[in-house]
Amino acid sequence: MFGLDYSWLADPAYQNWLVTGVINTLELAALSSSVAILIGMLGALGLSLRVFWLDALIEFFVEVFRNTPPLLQMLFAYFTLSTLGLKTTDPVTGLEVPLLSAFACACISLSLFGGALAIEAFRSGLETMPKAITEAGRSLGYSRWARFWRIEVPIASRVCLPSLTNILTNLFKTTSQASVITVPELMYYAGQIYNDTFRTLEVMILILIIYVVLVSILSYGMSRLEAYLTLPGYGKGQ
């Protein structure tokens, strides 16, 4: 079709690479998304406490990570953490090896990048919270933590689900950049395959389609979750 040659797809070795790549991509995305959401929640909680120094520190963190390229963040993390910093001696070979693998570095830097975006999303979710609701919680004797966890998070997370969906899909797409620091995910194996077969165009079209399908599944799943979690009066239930 269109003069494209996909005969290499029949080779089990390449199939294996593709499957491994997809699994590693999913793993990287799942790990960094979970940590990013955690960072986002903690950061938004920190901001809601209205403690000026915490507020300032969180804002500094968010602005730095939002306004620099994630690719550069990843390269920097990989370079400083594994090449210069934390090293350990391999007990078998006696050689000095980096303590953190490329995967770990990618995971750390993606989590921080995603976390910075998530803090913003959760913060705007918490800001839309009507004061009467938190006051009602306070008058019922909820502690600050209980109010946050039992009242604010359930409502705010529904309000900010659409922007959270954007952030998670964005983070998933950004995992492809981990290939630059040799994390063996889908994009990395794409390079391996076309270096082997010289079918650059065919490989890239296939990889693009795989990514679009994966991201579409993610955003479809998030929109289903949004519909499932709808509370009357908040978010889509408005």
Partner: protein, 272 residues
């Protein structure tokens, strides 16, 4: 009477951020005294190379200047494409609307890096139109590769802005006998433009950040220079180069982000 100097909440916050910056400056100074100074000297010598791609700083052939040029060119292409795409998703005819939706979602769901890579191979080296040869150098491919996802994101912004215009405007224009293109041209877009600007600027900052990816096309952008021309520098010095490059991006994008946020607040309340 309380004689202590009272600061507002924002003022205190600014003080802490100033403190953080001072701490970073102090750390740099301490590090410089402990031997970092010569590393910084290397960075200073190489700064023209990072900024313009030339050791002397002139003529401009690459570096961070190329990233900015790339972002401006891509944004220009993306603005045209994104507006057309956004209006197409609002078209009455399903033959225009559904393909536009498909293209928008496809581009929005594909990673920038993968799309850039794919464009590198999908686009030919040159196209021949009426015997005229138009070459596609890597720079043009990078412009198109970055413009496509930006256009898809911009089409959402355009869509939202057009939809936010009161339907009375449409009805009034129709009653006056305007055709649909005329309504867009003379009534809707001029009003929607004001609401599009914050989103447009946010996207521009995002695009500038994404120009770092253009290094895969092989153009001499700041990251390519960092990875190739500076390979002879020692490992330790490279950390300082990375920090400098991160700062360059931050210094360019942060003011844009701040300005966009201000505009957003200014536009928020207005209902035409």
């Amino acid at each position: 009477m309380n004689m202590t100097f009272e600061l507002s909440y924002e003022g205190k916050k600014r003080l802490v951020i100033g403190g953080v910056l001072a701490a970073i400056a102090a750390w740099i100074a301490v590090d410089a005294m402990a031997g970092g100074a010569e590393h910084w000297a290397r960075v200073f010598v190489r700064l023209p190379l990072l900024l313009t791609g030339q050791g002397d700083g002139w003529p401009i052939t690459g570096g961070f200047a190329l990233n900015i040029l790339l972002s401006i060119a891509s944004m220009a292409v993306a603005t045209v494409l994104g507006t057309l795409l956004g209006i197409s998703t609002l078209a009455q005819s399903p033959y225009l609307r559904l393909p536009a939706f498909f293209i928008m979602n496809f581009l929005r769901n594909s990673p920038w890096l993968v799309l850039l890579f794919a464009m590198l191979f999908i686009l030919p080296f040159q196209v021949e139109v009426f015997g005229l040869r138009i070459p596609f150098p890597p720079f043009v491919k990078a412009v198109i590769g970055l413009a496509l996802p930006t256009a898809a994101n911009l089409s959402e912004v355009v869509r939202g802005a057009v939809q936010s215009i009161h339907s009375g405007q449409w009805e009034a224009a129709r009653a006056l006998g305007y055709t649909t293109p005329q309504i867009y041209r003379h009534v809707i877009l001029p009003q929607a433009l004001r609401r599009m600007i914050p989103g447009w600027m946010n996207l521009y900052a995002l695009l500038t950040i994404a120009t770092a990816l253009a290094t895969v096309t092989g153009i001499q952008d700041v990251l390519t220079i960092l990875n190739t021309s500076l390979a002879m520098e020692s490992e330790r010095v490279l950390v300082y180069f990375y920090l400098t490059t991160l700062f360059l991006f931050f210094a360019y994008c942060y003011p844009i982000a701040i300005f966009a946020r201000r505009l957003e607040r200014a536009v928020k309340g207005d209902n035409i």
